[in-house]
Structure formats: C-alpha cells, structure tokens
Symmetry: D2
Subunit: 369 residues, 4 copies
C-alpha cells in the first residue's frame, strides 16, 4: 500500500524531487523476454519534455533516461526495471522567496501541514516533474500491450474554448504545440495563450485520452473496476480536478433509452455496438469499444499576478511566483494521461491473465469492436 506506487501486477514506484540529483522509478512485474531499450522510452519523454515551445516551462532538461536494471542483452528478464533521469537544469534560487510562503492553490501549505517540512525547491515532490517517470513507465506498459492497442491523447479544451468535434483529426495532434486535434482551435489557442503567458497568468484545460483495440474483459469488479482505476490514475496527475468516462457528466442529463449502447450482429458473427456512451466500460469491465477518458486540468497556481497569502510564521503576504512555469500545464498533461492509460491497461491485462487466463469468448465471436 505504498504511497508512491501505482498498479498491482504492473507496478510502478516513483521517487525524486524536482531539484534533487535525479528522479526515477522502479517498474516491477514486467513479463520477461520483451525487447526493451532506452530508445523505446525516450521518444515518449521527448513529447512531454519542457522547453519545446514558448507554451511550456522554459526549464530545459534533456530528460535522458537510463535503464539501470531488469534488461539483459536487450530483453526484459522479469526482474524489476529501474529507470533514472538526472536533473540538470535546476535553478533553486528562483524558489528562495517562496520557501516559507504558500502559493494559493498550490500543494505548499498542505505538505507543510502534513509533514511539518517540505523541499520547496521547484515544488519538491509535488512538482509535475514527477510525471516524467509516469511517461517512462507508460512506454514500458505499451510494450506489454502490444501494437494493437492504440492510445492517443489530445487537448480538447483550453480555458473556456473547446474544439469543434467535426474537425477532430488525429493527424493534427502532433502538428501544433497543443496536442490539439482541431487545427483552427489550435490557431486560436496560440494567440490566446501568448497573451496569457505574457501577462504572467495561466489557464486550465481538458485532456481526452482514447485507447482503441483493447480487448473486452479488462477490469475487475467491484473495487478494481477499470473505470475506477482510470479515474484514480488520472486524478493523481498534478492539477487534475475532474475525470469522466464516455459521456461522463452529460450522462446525468440522459434518459435510459438515450444512454443505451444498442447492439447488433455483424455478418461475421461479431457484435457491433451502435453507440459508445459508456466509453468502452460497462460494470467496470472493458467491452472492446474504444475506452474514452477526459480530465480537467486546473490553471497552474504559480503565477506572476500578486495574490493574497500567508507565510510559515502566520504573517499575511502578497505573493508573486517568478520561476519558470507552464502557462497551460494541461498541454504537457496529454502524454502523461496517455501513459496513465497505458499503465492501467497493462496492469489489468496482467490481472485478467492471472484470473481468467487466455481469453474465453463465451461462445460469442468478437471482432470489429
């Protein structure tokens, strides 16, 4: 029941502070004889890496990952895989003026109250820097899932501005600085975020993650439901305040008929769902339809605007956060959300194999789902 581990059979334990010598993780439970090298992980880290556009923090870390164990002659051995990234571009002096002052909306005061001590440099343990290790672990999870399961994230809302679903184009996602699938929205956001960034403010966002090609049967009711684990996983990402599956909150407004994902048979004997209100999960178990999760990221709490706060001595202060921050931390949450999806699916893939073994279709052919 470790505080810093997630997953059960695919189990990831992360460690490290933003301005410590390094951050790292241990990935345990990986099946043996999977080809794995740093080259399988690095591209995902590069997508998350800060400093790639003017819309993310200007901290510049190469974020070069090293595999320290668990791989022999290019293959996993079934033993724990330790990964490490050395920190290279810490500028801890930026944080001197907030060491004893609590940024409103930031974890500062909560850590202070819980532990009576905190490492204030770069946010210490509460920094989004920790998510680099989630991305690294996610790359290993993808190797377990194989190429048939496609996990794809996108920013579908920035501030109050959502995308136009009719223009949703997967190919656009990697063509702009926002992981935005709607090219027009991306252009509007660019202007808007420039203004926000220059004013020293920040803005929230909504991220959508879709996994296609996952088999039915992932998820273990009652308390390891796939959607419950996804909700917990996404909510554990820094600054996330809401998670929904499929229609999510919109389902509350529906009648039973409108929410029913009706079924018909395909000519090949497989089942065809006529809709996907459920977001690919029924009763906590995947149905083979695309698994769709959305989560809301609040605006970065570290802003230049002066806000009312207090310090560790109980003095009222007005606080401005200089440092280098993401004006829209939701952008970099896209690859993190993808990684969490991969980790949860890999965990449940192993869990399913433990209890149910190879897939048993129960007499019902399943394709096209």
């Amino acid at each position: 029941m470790s505080h810093n581990s997630f997953g059960h059979l695919f189990r990831v334990t992360t460690w490290g502070e933003s301005h410590g010598p390094a951050i790292g993780c241990v990935v345990d439970g990986v099946p043996p004889r999977i080809a794995l090298s740093e080259a399988d992980i690095q591209p995902f880290l590069d997508r998350r890496r800060p400093g790639q556009s003017r819309f993310t923090t200007q901290r510049r870390e190469p974020d070069t990952v090293k595999i320290l164990s668990g791989v022999y002659q290019g293959q996993t051995t079934g033993t724990p895989i330790a990964l490490m990234i050395e920190n290279t571009d810490q500028r801890s002096k930026d944080y001197a003026n907030i060491a004893d002052r609590f940024r409103p909306g930031h974890a500062d005061i909560a850590y202070h109250w819980k532990y009576g001590i905190r490492d204030p440099r770069g946010g210490g343990r509460s920094s989004a820097r920790e998510t680099a290790m989630r991305v690294a672990a996610g790359a290993i999870a993808r190797k377990i899932l194989g190429d048939d399961i496609i996990i794809r994230g996108a920013l579908v809302q920035m501030g109050p501005h959502g995308i136009d679903r009719s223009r949703f184009d997967d190919a656009e996602i990697d063509r702009n600085d926002f992981f935005c699938p709607d090219p027009l929205a991306a252009r509007l956001w660019e202007a808007e975020l420039d203004a926000i960034r220059k004013s020293g403010s920040s803005v929230g966002a909504v991220v959508e993650i879709t996994a296609s090609g996952a088999p039915p049967g992932l998820g273990a009711p009652i308390y390891a439901k796939l959607d419950a684990d996804l909700a917990g996983a996404m909510m554990s990402i820094n600054a996330v305040k809401a998670v929904e599956i499929g229609d999510g909150f919109a389902a509350a407004a529906l009648r039973g008929e409108a929410n029913a994902d009706e079924m018909r048979m395909n000519p090949d004997g497989s089942v065809r769902f006529l809709a996907n209100h459920a977001g690919g999960v029924l009763g906590g178990i995947s149905t083979g339809q695309p698994i769709v999760v959305r989560f809301a990221v609040k605006p970065t709490s570290s802003i230049l605007t002066e806000v009312a706060s207090v310090d560790a001595e109980g003095t009222e202060v007005d606080i401005q956060t200089k440092g280098r921050h993401d004006p829209c931390v939701g952008i970099r949450a896209v690859p993190v959300g993808e990684a969490m999806m991969a980790c949860v699916l890999a965990d449940h893939w192993l869990r399913h194999r433990a209890q149910c073994g190879e897939f048993v279709p129960g007499g019902l052919p399943i394709t096209q789902m």
Copy 2:
C-alpha cells in the same frame, strides 16, 4: 490487491450476489475499543433501503444487518468485523427472460465476456445491492472519524435539471424523496420522475458529497492522493461515469487568478481561505476546508422501452427489462457516496497516523478550517 476490497488500513471486503442467500462484508483494521452495535449501522442502511418511496425499486428488503465478529461487549476488539444481510425478497423468475440476453448499457455482456459465466438473477454481483455493504462499512468509518467530521450528501441534479444553489438548505435534504437540498427542485423532480417511472424509462443524476471538519493532512502523495482515492471510490459505485473535486471541470475554463484560493490570517492566528475552488484538497492532501466531491450517475439501463440487443447465441433480439428497478438510481447513490467518503477519510486518517503520528502543525496555528 484483492478485486473486492477497498481501502488499505481501513479495509473493506464485500461479497454477495443480488439473489444469493446473503450479502456481506469484512471490515478490517478498525481500532479497538470503539463502541459499536447494529444500531450504529442500521439507520444508514435504512436511508439507502429500496422500496421507501415510489421513486426507488419496489424490491422490499428489511436489510437488517448482523454483526458476526469483531465486537465484544459492545466494543470493537481490533479484529475483523464481519457484517451480513440476508436477502429476503428475491424474485429471480423476473430475470429468466434476460438470462441469456444482454441489456444495452448494463454489465451483462462485459461479465459474460470476461468470465464466460455470470449469475443473471437480479444482476448478480453487478447489482447495486452490493452498495448496501458500502453503506454499512461507511457507518463504521464514521465511528472512527468521530462527530467533528460531518459528511453530507445531496442530489444536486436530476436529468437536465439542477438545483438553484441559492436555495441550498441542508435541512431540506431529508424532507423529500430525492435527498434534494432545494425544495422547489424537489417538487419539480417529483412530477418529472413520476412521468419517467410510468413510461418505464429512467434518468441520470448528479450527487454532491461534502465532508466538513476534516483535519488538514489527509492524503498521501503521489499515488494515494486523497482526491485520487475519492475519484476511484466514487467511480466504483454502480452507474457512476464522472467525478469532480471542488470546481472540477469548471476549473478548466479558469485563469490562475480566478482559481487561487487566497489566504488570510484570522485574529486567533489561524488561516482563513477566501475561497474553496480546490474542494478542500491541494497536492492530494486535505487542507481543512470542506472536501467537496460531485459525481454523475447514468440512467438505469434496465428499462421497459424496447432496445436493440443480442443474445448469448449471437441472435439479434429486442429487449425489455421488467423486474423492479430504480427510475433514478442516483437517488439511492446519495447515502452510498456518503459512505465512500467516510471510508476513504477513515483509511487516510489511519494512514496519516501511521506515518505522521499525532498532528504536528509546523508552527502554524490552525483553527476555523
């Protein structure tokens, strides 16, 4: 990593099917020497019990809970507490016609694919009947938390109709059949749900749970964040499709300034938050402000309206669900959501005590929070 357990130090394992001989749970980790009897649990079960108004399923179960272990001479002994409710009003024949047919939007087909077998009577394990044991466990969790932490749930939206926040009145919640804090909304919903019920349809809802009086320091970053655990807990409730903390999805639309919960000092030396966008949780740790969670419940999938489906032989069928169902299962989710809040807080209360011992304020007086 049991599939049917939740919590770690306050750990609940539930068992039972809707139409089996009984349902039950084992609650482990409860501190010794807490006064406990069935009378502490029964009132919470009575609130959740079906058949109390025309707006919930007409199955009539007394839901009388028995304590089978862990209590001696009216006090907990530190050993596992087993609770059991015998099932008395099963009408399994209602389900004969859906034994091999899959209700759209229901867990039927997912269980079928995962396990290759399922108990179709009353939904078997996937029935909301399981939530009775959550409510029972929640009653024990409340005994651990003590009387200073007040947990209160309410239905704040039914179908597309939300409450008017200006009329929010805690006292109203137990005066209507909806746990609705807005008396006018309750009256409107009554008419609407009567129509839905008579037409054999169903409707979704949004539930809000608030815990006041919880101390700061609950929650263990990074992967046992209080909000992540709450999200997983609420999403594990039957039919829930979305969860948010504090401002939730609305935070995505905000600027950093608007989202900052600014702080000032009270005359008595305690900290006063000027807002609660965060819903009482920062960095995964409680701040002492009210903890606010909302979740969306989809409409019951068991409806009289005929919907397109398939059966276990792969034949296309049109399916109507007779049985006895909740036209708005969100209503009875209110006490369930309260119970999950209580369980998560109790678990983290014990976790905090393990790692941090008695509360250490770190030099900052805390009152009024």
Copy 3:
C-alpha cells in the same frame, strides 16, 4: 495490507471468534468456471474437525460449511466466494475464570496489551478455531491447482519422538489418529498421549507437508519467494514456532558438495535431480521437485497443571485451564498445513500466469520432475 488476509491473487480474508455466532472467510480471485460445491470443501473440514478421537479437543462441532456467494449453478463465477460455519458447541462459561487472567504461553496477555480489550471466550480471535477457514480455503485452492499436484501432510514427530523414515508409508497416514506415516510410531504415541492427556498436560509436534507434481517456476524473487511465503504461511498457524524447507537446519552443517542437488538428463530429454536437499525450491522458485516443508508446533498452553501468572489487575495468580483442549494441537495442524501449502501454491500459480503466461520451458524439456 489487511491484517486478516493472506495471498495476493488467490486472496483469503478470514473473520470470526471461537465463541461468536459464526466464523467465515472470503476467497477472492478464484478463476471462473471451476466446478465447486460444499461437497468439495467438507471432507477437508472433516479431517480437521475436533472431537474425532480422544486426542483432540472434545468440543464437538459439525463444522458444516455453507457457500454464500461466488458460485452459480455449481460453477465459480469469478466473484468472491464467501464461506461460513456457524458455531454450535460454545461453552463460554468454561472461560469465565480466565477472562481476566493470562495463560502463560498463550496470546491472552499480548492481545490485552495490544488492543486493551479481548474476547476471552474460547480464545476469541486467537483460537485455533480460525484454522477451519484456512482448511476451507485450501480446498478451493486445490481445485485451482488440479489433480496433478498432490499435497500430503503428516505428523513426523510428537514430543521428543520422531518417526522412523524407513517405515514412512503414505497409506498409513489416514489409518491412525495422528496422521502418522509410521505405524509403529503411531502406536507408541498413542500410549504416550493418553498419559499426557490424563495428566492434563500437552506436548509439541513436528508436521511435514509435501507437494508433489508442482511445476517449476512458482515463486517470485526477491520478496515473494515461494519458500519465504511458505515460511510466513506456516508460521502464521497457531502455536507454530519454526519452519524449514528441504534439509532446513540440517543444511547449516553441510559442505557445498553435500548440499548440491546434482542433475543428470533422462533418456526422454528431461532433467533428473539426484537429490532434493533444497526441498523443491531454488532462489525462491520451484524446481519441479517435491516441495517439502516442516514446521514445529509448540505444546498447547492451556493445561490443567497450575502455572504462575498474573491477572489484569496486576495480582499474582496460579492458573489452571479447564475448558476442552487438544493435548497435542500439532495433530490437527496437519490438514491446516496442507491447506496453507495449497493456498500459497494457488497464489503463485496465478502470479506466475500473470507475469509469465503459459509455461515456457526455455528450450529444456521437463518431465519426471
């Protein structure tokens, strides 16, 4: 990390006190579609049941097990299996005189100090009665393991008298009241235990459990080694004070050559071990050889002989325990040890399947092991 659960993927949670209304357990993680009924479990309970000879406690419980969930139409469904045995022959008044006095060598004082409260009737939670549920769970574990894995326990020492290994005969085990594989030893023990019983004393014993036919590959280094899990499982049985695998303590006296389990090839291409000093486990992983565990059971602490003690008020008392007790509790530990072996193997069988899938022989044929 429940205090009252064991196993991970095959997970058993037990509850109940010796003189409460019932004892029970929840077995989670059982694969679906395994034929299971009470008739699969009852015979194992009958072997452990008290009151079957004059050498076990005279408490007479039918120990009739009921399956309350997880089985539908004679097959497991993959949902948690709840088992319950009602207590029927409690004579709690026997314990009135020891309610506030601590039997030397018994858990009384330890529970008192830990929890500040305990249920003294029949030993409460610390009674060996709890082991009935282990035996029940073990019967389910055997269904997972299948018929090729044979688990067999025997009493190999009673007090200072060990068996003669040259007379070891599996068929003898069920022919005497001791589960003793050596008919001559059984006869000697009979006389000896009669004398011990009549004098109101008790005596220790050594139990040996062997599992034949288990495949290589069970066990997960470093901290879920098969032998480590077996050691923890056996040591958790009431009154057990020592555990050894294979040669155990005798290995300490050996040279490397003497301890080497040399290997040769069989004509059919399989590996043949020339010895089994290791007891079937190398590096924490099963080798396919018989898995051999022995454990020591101390003499029952509840004896008629007066011993020096204290009471809850701090008064010195001389204490005699009347009640009904096993003069050699090691006898009934035989089926319990078998059950623990079955549970640990089933857990690791599922764990192996999760990480490694179907067995991959790595190029080396394996038979005859």
Copy 4:
C-alpha cells in the same frame, strides 16, 4: 503485491543485478523530520561489505551509498527515499563459462525455467549483492525504531560446530571475522574455514538475531503476525532454508509446563516473565521480551569441486565454479538478518500506530520487559 517490495507501511522496493551499473532501493512511508544522512547508513553497509577478510568473497566494492531523494536539509520529508550504490568491481568474464550451465543448488535453473532468460553475470538478480540494499533500508528502519530497541546478530553455528552458550559475549561479536559471540568457537572456525576455503568448498551456518527493548503490541494477527512476518523476511534472504522463533524446533519436544513462560509481578507493578521460550512473541504479537530469531544458511552453491549438472541444451556437464565466492555466506548474513529484523519491526511499529495509536497499557503497568 510487488515481487520486489517488502513491508507495508515501512515499504522497501529493491532493484538491480550483481553486475549491472548499480543496485538500489526505494524506501517509502518513512515518517518526516527524522535526521538522516549517508553517514547513518554507511556503517551498516561497511559491516556487510565483501572483501574485508579472507573469509568472505574477494570482490572489493566500496559500496558507497547515495541518498537521491526524500531528505532535505538533513531531515526526512515523508517522501520516498531512493538509495543507490554503483557497482564498481564486476568481473563478468568470470561467469562466461557458466552462462548456459546450471550450478547445482543455485537459482540458475529455476530462473531459466521461470523466465526463459536470466542475467548470468555474478548471479544477476539472485546474487546476494541484493542484500546490500536490505542493510541500507535496515539502517533507516533503525532510525524509526529509535535507540531503545537494540538489534544484535551473531553467528551461533558454522557447519556442525555451534557456540558454547555459556561463553556468549556480545562484546566479542565485532572482534572476530565471524560475528561470533564465543571467542573460542571463533578460533576453531577460523582454522576450519581456512581449510574449507583452500579446498574450494563451502559450509553452512546458523545466525541468531535478537531485538531487545521492543514494546509489546507489535504484530497484527492473524495474517500479519510478527513471527510470520519475521519468518518470511528471514527466509527471503539468499540461501536461508529454516527459521525459528524462541525455542523453535526444540519446542516440539516439550510438555506444556516446560514451555510456559510464567509471569510474576515486579515490585514496581510491572510484569516479569520467568522464561522466554516464546522468543518474545505470543499469538503473533510482541510481549516486550527480547525477540529471538534464528535462521539456517546453506553452504554457498558456487564451489570449485566438480559436480554433475546439465546445460541449457540438455547436455550433461561437470561444473566447477571459479568466480569469487564466500566460503561461508552465513557470515555476511548476520548484518542482513539484523536489517530484516529492523525493517519488520519498523513496519509493525507504524502498523500499530495506525490501528492502536499511542500505546494503551490496559491497566497493566509494563516495565522491565
């Protein structure tokens, strides 16, 4: 349920292979504001370090530990503590000739069968090198336990030669190369082990670990009994084949009277045990008496003597292991056993605090224990 983690609230995850770039661990759950630096850990590593006498492997590693996270300004912060030791003296070529051959009595073939792949260099993951991280974690555990709990290990038997208990002298333990408390035995062992070493053979040993000053109440029945956790922990150490608590196997030969740890009151109102057959644990809970554990270490399987084996192609081979090995690996198991004792006690110290809070004596003063 990670394979490579142990403990629950004091949770240690280790990683690394003998000849990889480094080995390391993550220690999670450590309370905040404990003074900690490398200087607290290094002395324990130095005790375990190879190459310090002719009686341990001649591999010479400085084993310099680095703290990579979880400590700020000399104090723990409550976040995970990552430790790392870089490997410097690997001589992997020594292992070329055993890469595809299986040393009898070694984990080689078991890893091969389980994973279908293994890192043969220096034993890979199955090397005793992993125990360095246990020792490091144990040093942190001791900081949690404080100075009143004294944990002390000793070698009490080497090969067939035990110590003379009447000469047991704690002060002797650090004066010889064997951690032997009996100076005469140490001298005899020296001659004996020189002969064994020169002949390229190896020998087993028995280690005894005692923890004095631990409070009553540690341990959580039924499945987290202190003695069960100690048994699992010790058995997980490389080459350990047996574990006993208190009188252990000798208890099997005793009568109830002989095994009773009788109690009397001290003048100050505390309880005085008149014996400690139980080894400080009753019913799985510590009693305040010294906790005494012994474990048997088999002889190192890597020996110069030629033994019959097979290779990965199924060819019969005669195998001699050159490399650098401990002639009596039991010697270096002493600090490892101490560390495991410390880790288990720290875990249960936190567990006790979670469930039972500050110690409640239940009316019975406890001192002198």
